[in-house]
């Protein structure tokens, strides 16, 4: 049931992405961007319903593996995007972010989850864990959007500097707007991610007996946190524009590789679903 609903949500995300891409390709169709906004909003709600069903069907165990993690990332990312459009409406960003959301949701469409409701460890009941999971996913979602914005910045910079005043040049927002948006996303993402790190340590104390156990997931998260923290600091000494965008790309690449490595390599970490 939850997978069927998720497929509907994925279809809506794809339609929303298509609308935003159409708007990007043909800016004269102003309605395409507002259509996209409503489609993504609807997809977000349907996705939420699917998550609810997933919890009752699989007892929530399906969200602790890589597939479920990506699904949640897609959901929170879509929500963050909707908020962003509400407060900083730059619709052309949609053409770059929503395909990422669709990709994040895709793995969930082909998995059916565990056969029986999994046994959820008692740790899950901890309030700190709830905060940990939601802030971790929220932080990564913001980094993902920053990644998309950084790609836009680099594309636009190539156009402006290379004197190609073509289609991309006229459709992409100004460098200044992209740079500022990127900075805001990184800063907010860093703050949210910091909360995830602290609550993660609290949960580790409860589940593993110590705040810090050199678990690979902990090490990777710390490196990610340090990198984004450095970016927040570097802003004050004049690092911005191209170099900032490149750092944003590097940061998200690190987030992604660590996420996939921790989820795909068996028993490398006790984090997530590997509670044995």
């Amino acid at each position: 049931m939850s997978v069927t609903i998720l497929r509907i949500a994925a279809g809506l995300y794809a339609a929303g992405a298509a609308s935003y891409i159409l708007f990007f390709a043909r800016p004269r169709h102003v309605r395409a961007s507002s259509t996209g906004f409503w489609l993504v909003g609807l997809a977000f709600l349907v996705h939420a319903v699917s998550i609810g069903f997933g919890c009752s069907e699989f007892g929530g165990a399906d969200f602790f593996n890589l597939r479920g993690g990506f699904g949640m990332l897609g959901w929170v990312g879509a929500g963050a995007f909707l908020l962003l459009q509400r407060f900083y409406p730059i619709p052309s960003v949609g053409a770059f972010i929503l395909p990422l959301v669709v990709i994040a949701v895709l793995p969930g469409l082909f998995g059916l989850g565990p056969d029986a409701p999994g046994v959820v460890p008692s740790v899950v009941r901890l309030p700190a864990l709830k905060l940990h999971v939601s802030t971790a996913i929220g932080g990564v979602a913001l980094f993902a959007i920053a990644f998309g914005v950084a790609v836009m910045y680099l594309l636009q910079e190539r156009e402006v500097k290379g004197k190609h005043f073509g289609a991309l040049f006229s459709r992409l927002p100004s460098l200044d707007a992209l740079d500022k948006l990127n900075q805001r996303l990184v800063r907010t993402g860093f703050a949210v991610y910091s909360v995830a790190l602290v609550t993660g340590a609290l949960v580790a104390k409860n589940a593993w007996g110590s705040f810090w156990t050199w678990d690979p997931q902990q090490v990777a998260s710390l490196v990610v946190w340090l990198l984004y923290g450095a970016m927040v600091q570097l802003r004050h000494v004049g690092v911005h524009g191209r170099r900032y965008a490149l750092l944003t790309l590097a940061g998200f690449a690190l987030v992604l590789t660590s996420m996939i490595a921790m989820g795909a390599v068996p028993n490398v970490t006790r984090h997530g679903g590997n509670f044995q």
């Binding site: 500097k161 992409l172 460098l175 911005h240 524009g241």
Partner: protein, 437 residues
């Protein structure tokens, strides 16, 4: 029969020396309109007067009053005048409003100027129902052209290109400063255009202090000493360079030092001088965006050729709108026939119903009487439904033979005034007709 005539001269046909003799503004123009209107056979009149064109549109027996408008003011304008009549005049007005006849095709000001001309003619009561309909159609045409083609897109002058570039780098210029180096004419123009993006400050510097002060007055900026240049470069986000110097004024070394002092905040150098004043190697530095005259000119050429292509599509829209305008006029011409036909039929039907009721005397109650009358009306409606639809259709597709034939067949004089018919109804019918298309 009165017709529509347009007489005028524009940048295509006359030099500015001629145009300025006939260009009018404000109260003078109003007086001229009143003068036109008081001419014997002029029913409606409108004058479009901009720096690139002066055109007189009249609904009259001939183009003579419009021609006299020009010849009274400039006797030597005769050889420069063009004259259009009927559909040609309509087409010309639509093309002007859609900016297809402009010096820079696709520029956006002309539509506002035509609207202004229409507003003036309305307030002077020289624009009647014909010119109103004509102008509304012209505005609709211009709007269609603007939204359905790319004829107004892109930057069509060097200073517009500069503005567009700076916008793509900095967004708007709030809180930023512009520095103008040198006294070149293009530089001053571009600085002015850029200042409209909301820059906080415009700084001007030149080797000669007096020129700097004069330029500062002209661009609304502050004059600074040439010796301060390196300091000014650090302050400025956008630097426009157009000196007469035969060498580079901004070298990579200077740019490098400047960027260091600016903590690598983005800077844009626009070099409008030939020979160039900004070393092109400056663009290799991070966060430095440097452009020369060639770069900007290339964009201007690209825009112009793109617009020329789009203009072909725009012309097709204009053509369609001209046809639609005349079709609507024909449809209006068919309406009197329709109204007369219906009136005649209703008269007959109600007359017969009355006669029948009189013969029946008091045998029918009130309800029965009403039923008989309703039946008579229903027969008329059913009978006329088909002919009405076909007449409207024929009229709106520009076919005027069918309305004429109908008038003849039913023995109706279409031009006879519709007595007893409230004007509101016929205009509602016109709206319904034009909506159908």
């Amino acid at each position: 029969m009165k017709g529509i005539f347009l007489v005028g001269l524009s940048h295509h046909s006359a030099s500015i020396a001629v145009r300025e003799q006939v260009a009018l503004e404000g109260e003078v123009l109003k007086a001229a309109l009143a003068g036109l209107r008081s001419t014997q056979d002029v029913q409606e009149a409108m004058v479009i007067s901009t720096c690139n064109r002066v055109e007189v549109l009249v609904l009259a027996e001939s183009a003579e009053p419009a021609r006299r408008f020009f010849l009274d003011r400039a006797p030597d304008a005769d050889g420069h005048l063009y004259e259009f009549h009927g559909s040609q005049a309509v087409r010309h007005l639509f093309r002007v409003a859609a900016s297809l006849d402009s010096m820079v095709v696709g520029e956006q000001q002309i539509l506002g100027q035509v609207k202004e001309a229409y507003g003036l003619a309305s307030s002077a009561a020289t624009a009647g129902s014909f010119i109103s309909r004509l102008c509304n159609r012209a505005f609709a045409t211009a709007k269609r052209v603007r939204s359905e083609t790319d004829v107004g897109r892109g930057a069509s002058s060097v200073s517009q290109v500069a503005v567009e570039l700076v916008e793509k780098i900095f967004g708007d210029l709030k809180g930023r400063s512009i520095l103008l180096v040198g006294a070149g004419k293009m530089g001053a123009l571009s600085a002015k255009a850029l200042a409209s993006l909301g820059a906080d400050r415009v700084l001007v510097t030149n080797r000669s202090r007096e020129r700097a002060v004069a330029l500062a007055d002209q661009t609304g900026g502050h004059a600074r000493d040439w010796s301060e240049l390196s300091k000014l470069l650090i302050e400025a986000d956008v630097v426009i360079v157009s000196t007469g110097a035969p060498h580079f004024v901004i070298t990579p070394e200077i740019a490098h030092a400047t960027m260091k002092a600016r903590r690598h905040r983005s800077a844009c150098y626009i070099d409008l001088a030939v020979p160039r004043n900004v070393d092109p190697r400056c663009a290799d530095l991070d966060s430095v965006f440097a452009y020369d005259m060639d770069d900007l000119q290339k964009v201007v050429h690209a825009t112009r050729s793109a617009r020329a292509e789009e203009a072909i599509r725009a012309e097709a829209i204009v053509e369609a709108e001209v046809m639609a305008f005349f079709a609507e006029r024909e449809a209006r011409a068919a309406l009197p026939v329709l109204a007369a036909l219906r009136r005649r039929a209703e008269e007959i039907a109600l007359g017969e119903a009355e006669r029948t009721l009189a013969q029946l005397g008091g045998k029918l109650d009130e309800k029965g009487r009403r039923s008989v009358e309703a039946m008579a009306r229903a027969i008329v409606n059913k009978l006329l439904h088909g002919p009405t639809a076909r007449l409207k259709e024929a009229a709106s597709s520009g076919d005027s033979t069918l309305p004429g034939a109908a008038a003849e067949l039913f023995g109706i004089d279409g031009d006879q005034p519709a007595k007893g018919e409230e004007p509101g109804r016929s205009s509602a019918a016109i709206v319904a007709l034009s909506d159908k298309r």
